[in-house]
């Protein structure tokens, strides 16, 4: 059994956000972190490794420095790192990225008892589209927003956390799950893991390795091919503090009702 986890290196939004003139993020000038939800996905995979001996493969698409992030995940306990990296892939939107990652996962080999895991969404694009699109490309079942994962042979039972409740769904491997932070508490790297990680080769899948896969439409990848175009991006102004009303009396209720009425909420 193998768990392939898709991870993304994202800008650390607790620091300064820098934007290129063309509207894309100036990633080079910003500190990076592992996308938080992806770390939960890695932890879920490592739990399956602890309990069932699954092999954990972490995969990312990004520039060569993203290999360092893969080493951090190896230091947490992942077995193999795969870097999908090529100039032709740069600037890809979610539609393009999911084609490329699906082809890369196929290349790694998705077998009957394997699971693909992704974080729910990345904190830079915030689309939550890549995981679902990968599942569609690979034509495997998907369950998003996983807050609990149980494995029994090839049966996967997932509790999905939704805004207004939760839903429990069963499916079969191979499948794709997107993970949320409520799923677990990611472990730290270990010191021994760090030294081991730097002894491992990171597999690189470049344009040549993937371009002939029928899952990829070469006209719709990279910055040029991506159907999404960014017209403008900006740092939004900070939201106001909001208004706090205190009291359980009629006058407070009237004030609240008047405020809601004024904003056409009621």
């Amino acid at each position: 059994m193998k768990v392939i986890v898709c991870v993304k290196q994202v800008p650390d939004t607790s620091g300064k956000v820098a934007v290129n003139p063309n509207g894309t993020l100036d990633r080079a000038s910003m500190a990076t972190i592992i996308n938080p939800d992806d770390k939960n996905a890695v932890e879920a995979a490592l739990t399956l490794k602890d309990n069932f001996g699954a092999k954990v493969v972490v995969i990312t698409m990004g520039p060569p420095p993203a290999a360092e992030m893969l080493r951090e995940l190896l230091a947490m306990g992942a077995d193999e790192g795969v870097l999908v990296s090529a100039r032709e892939f740069g600037g890809s939107d979610t539609f393009a990225t999911s084609q490329i990652l699906a082809a890369a996962i196929k290349k790694i080999g998705l077998e009957k008892d394997d699971i693909v895991m992704c974080g729910r969404q990345a904190i830079d694009g915030d689309t939550a589209q890549v995981g679902s699109q990968i599942a569609e490309k690979l034509d495997i079942p998907q369950i998003s927003y996983a807050a609990d994962i149980q494995l029994d042979g090839s049966k996967v039972t997932v509790k999905r956390m939704l805004e207004d409740g939760h839903m429990t769904i069963e499916t079969q491997t191979p499948c794709l799950l997107t993970c949320i932070k409520e799923l677990n508490e990611p472990r730290y790297m270990s010191v021994g893991g760090i030294f081991w990680a730097f002894e491992q080769e990171i597999t690189v899948l470049d344009y040549e390795a993937l371009k002939d896969d029928p899952l990829i439409d070469l006209d719709t990848i990279g910055l040029k091919g991506s159907p999404t175009n960014i017209f403008k991006s900006f740092t939004p102004p900070q939201k106001g503090k909001g208004v706090m009303l205190e009291g359980a009396d009629k006058a407070t209720c009237d004030t609240l009702a008047a405020a809601l009425l004024k904003k056409h909420i009621i």
């Binding site: 951090e72 230091a75 730290y188 790297m189 010191v191 760090i194 030294f195 730097f198």
Partner: protein, 382 residues
Amino acid sequence: MDFRLTKQQAMVQKLCREFAINEVEPIAAEIDEQERYPEETVQKLMKYGLMGIQFPKEVGGSGGDYICYSIAIEEASRFCGTTGCIISSHATLGAWPIYAYGTPEQKEKFLRPLVSGQKLGAFGLTEPNAGTDSACQQTTAERQADGTWLINGSKVFITGGGRADTYVIFAMTNKAAGNKGISAFIVDKNDPGFKIGKIEHKMGIRGSQTSELIFEDMVLPADRLLGQENKGFKIAMQTLDGGRIGIASQALGIAQGALDKAVQYMQERVQFGRTLDKFQGLQWMVADMEVKIDAARLLIRRAAFNHDVGLPFTKEAAMAKLYASEVAMEVTTKCVQLHGGYGYIREYPMERMMRDAKITEIYEGTSQVQRMVIAGQIFKKK
């Protein structure tokens, strides 16, 4: 010549920083206040390989080096001197002598559990009448007819006493021979005749447990002798050489942590219409502290580097420990001052850091002993 950390060392630093912020800082004030040993933190330190950093993987360690070890203690001590002390005393005092002098069997039985995160180690040299004059041991070990050792005596101020599973202790095997009559032994906490005595209440590092060890007709099997008979004093001195890198790193972390807090406070605290960082007199205090902290770090890294590559480091480690501990005391005192009244009250971490700093000038050789070691090394060469 390269002052940068390697990629591995930088990643260890990242791990230790995350660990310190998430696991160490939140309980630092509480364990001090309640004199509570942070068992939960120790379990996690073991789990993530932070208790055997500098030992090779072949003996069960994490495969790192003394630079990484120093980094781990520094990062933990930035928030909690107790945690830095626990890592340092376990790894260098408890485990290292067995690593350096143990037989293959002793390493397998006692070292592997210590450096792979299964058990805790401690070191027993100090006695009521053998502090700085550590050769003046009164604990005795007599070889009996069946080859076992009969040990009587006691040790005081033992870091980790009552918490550790394995102790390296020292006793006179030839009373007439002075420091040439001392031998080292490995003691298991369950050995008959071994008892934990008084647990001390301390000024600082209050979460770490410090106790008396009592040996009352304690019988140890013959194979518990560590190294050669009557050669224990050298083992003790060499162990302390390495331990000083740990204590220096603890001092460094405390100083850095105090300065970090003071810098943050100075940017927030307004007096006379401006934040404190706008006052030149205070800026100069901060600049001086920054210089000293950095100098301490460089001394420590050099001593650790020498240890890692097999160069002599006795003088270097003593210099690092002497300087870093005195810097820690000076910096924490000044940072209390920069906080004014808030520095003196327990709601802020400053007074705790100042109390924690003091021990670094005392244990594993007082500042006076460090000067003796340094001078001894200078005149030895002439």
